[in-house]
């Protein structure tokens, strides 16, 4: 069964649709990059899948069932800056929040949950910062904490909105190897990504998105000049010149 099945999804904040009749299905156990220009609706796609914005029409299924019944299977890393960094809480506490969905009503996260959270922090290399108030972390460190929180959710399908923003190159590589590890465990990871240079290197599959699905498939098949042109319109400088860059798949 497909981990993610989106059918005819249309989302509109006001009258203008942000996503238009998007239909696709993701294969299991793949690392999938979502690429598209600013405002293409990448974040909106993830939010609509997670039920954070209302759908105008269409449906979303996680492993064949509606998201509501499959919540525990899903982990989410939001685009940065959506929380109050002055909130009185430390890094470990934030990661522990990833366990709340599993703990259920009226109960506290226990020792096991704390252990899982510590392990997640360790994986992103932030163990020493467990006690740090979150506003005293750098942007990249904050990003890693949120990644750790998603890891602690122990999900089967992950949605990450630009996890590489504000992290240095070494961290980016570390995160990617972490994501590959998840993939090796049979998990499906969908990552919104901005850097076209690294798409071919990082992702097995690519979803090109601009209000509608432009293309979806194995990266070597869909990451072509033609598709990029369709996605980005006239906005990529190199597309105007005749030379196609090396990082795009050649026909």
């Amino acid at each position: 069964m497909n981990p993610i099945q989106v059918s005819n999804l249309t989302v509109a904040y006001d009258r203008k649709p942000v996503l238009q009749e998007v239909t696709f299905q993701m294969p299991e156990g793949k690392l999938i990059g979502v690429v598209g220009p600013n405002g293409a609706g990448k974040s909106t796609l993830i939010k609509a899948i997670l039920g954070l914005v209302p759908k105008a029409s269409g449906s979303v299924e996680i492993y064949g069932k509606s998201y509501r019944t499959q919540r525990k299977l899903v982990g989410y890393v939001p685009q940065r800056g959506s929380v109050d960094w002055d909130f009185p809480t430390n890094a470990l506490d934030v990661v522990l929040m990833g366990r709340y969905g599993h703990v259920g009503w009226f109960r506290r996260p226990g020792k096991k949950d704390t252990a899982i959270a510590m392990q997640a922090l360790d994986k992103v290399g932030m163990k020493e910062y467990a006690d740090r108030q979150i506003s005293q972390l750098s942007g990249g460190q904050q990003q890693r904490v949120f990644l750790a929180r998603a890891l602690a959710q122990d999900a089967t399908v992950y949605f990450m909105d630009e996890p590489f923003v504000g992290v240095d190159a070494a961290t980016e590589k570390a995160i990617i190897s972490l994501l590959n590890e998840l993939k090796a465990q049979g998990k499906t990871v969908l990552v919104v990504h901005h850097d076209l240079q690294t798409v071919k290197e990082y992702f097995d599959w690519t979803l090109l998105l601009n209000k509608q699905k432009i293309a979806l498939g194995p990266t070597e098949e869909v990451f072509t000049v033609e598709n990029l042109q369709k996605t980005y319109g006239g906005r990529l400088a190199f597309l105007d010149s005749q030379v196609s860059p090396s990082y795009v798949v050649q026909p």
Binding site: N8, D14, Q20, S57, K211, G233
Partner: protein, 454 residues
Amino acid sequence: MFNDLILTLQDANTQWVLFGTILLGVASGVLGSFALLRKQSLIGDAMAHAALPGICLAFLLYGTKSIGWFLVGAALSGLLATYFIQVIINHSRIKEDTAIGLVLSVFFGFGIVLLTKIAQSENGNQSGLDDFIFGQAASLVGNDVRVISGVAVVLLIVTWLLFKELKLFTFDRQFAQGIGLPTGLLNGLLMALIVSAVVIGLQAVGVILMAAMLITPAISARYWTDRLDRMVIVAGTIGALSGMLGTLLSSMANRLPTGPVIVLSATVIFLISLIFAPNRGLVSKGLKLYRIRKIVARETVLQTMYDLSEEASITNKKLLFSKEELLTRRKMAVRKLDSNLKRLEKEGYVQRKEDLWYLTESGGYEAHEIVLNNRLFEIYTMYEMKFASLQFATNDVWDYKHIGSSTLHELEQLMAVHERTPKLEPKYFGEGETLRKKKSSQRAEKRKKEVKSL
């Protein structure tokens, strides 16, 4: 009732009070508009509460009730409170709403402390300071009204003189700074103006409800216009109306306190604006939504028929579809689909063969138009930046016929790149060239009218 009104109006004291509350309403409506647009409505609330200790201190220092000193004391402590709020926000992690609530409640608490102190002193009993909490317009005497009106007139004149600068500053502080306006000074001036509007209202409306005089007329005015100059005028008028209604009602029904009645009058005007204002009011919005829904539902059915026809024609199938097929292609309430199909049948755009539906010749035209229009819109949203020159506001109705031919050509080319060009030419659904042209232009006219009527 009417006689009561005449009687009330003949009373000299009521005339004074009426004059005062009307001017007060104008001033607070005008300055409230600026506070509202700067998202600082609740600072007015803090200023009003914070005025209490200032008034008490003025009384303690001066010894008797004096409107002039009260206003000075109230204004100074109101400004001090505003300053504290800014300091707390700028120099700590505390956010604006907490800072406002904190300063407001502490100042008010301190004011209460001073009030009890005054009540114990010899001349405390006739001080009438309690009036400031709920306001007691009836207690206004001629001298009070003269001072209040004087201040109100000065406020209005200053606002009128500096309208352009204040407007720019309110709208875009950075830009105002950029073109060399003294924004620090303007900020201080605006705060001083707002504080003055607040303090002259305290005696009539009271500390607790004064915020309403700033907020309610301004937010009501927002419903009637989009332009600041008009908004200021409308807000001033609403303020005056509330002041007048409140004063008359409360002096006719003897026991009712003036302040709350003025505030409720303003609230009623707000509710009327919220519900009935053209364009922004709930009724008008609801009607618009209803009409749009109706058009969209009809277009959706036609578009779905067209999409299915397009697919079927590729595989050379018949262009006949069941309701189930339509519903799987685009989700829709069954009842809605039924009613729209019935309507389209009456219009002669679709017909049925037993349980299957198909587009008629004229339906083919109509559907083609709609699909073309929608797909061009899709392409436009994808390449929004490129076509920024179209200046297409979010709530306008998209109609490709209004687009210049070169832009349209570009859009059509992109549509072809994305393989979104409607492939099923209208002629596919029937024949008769000349007739068709005429018909289609008639239809275009009709559609234009529909769109216009929105």
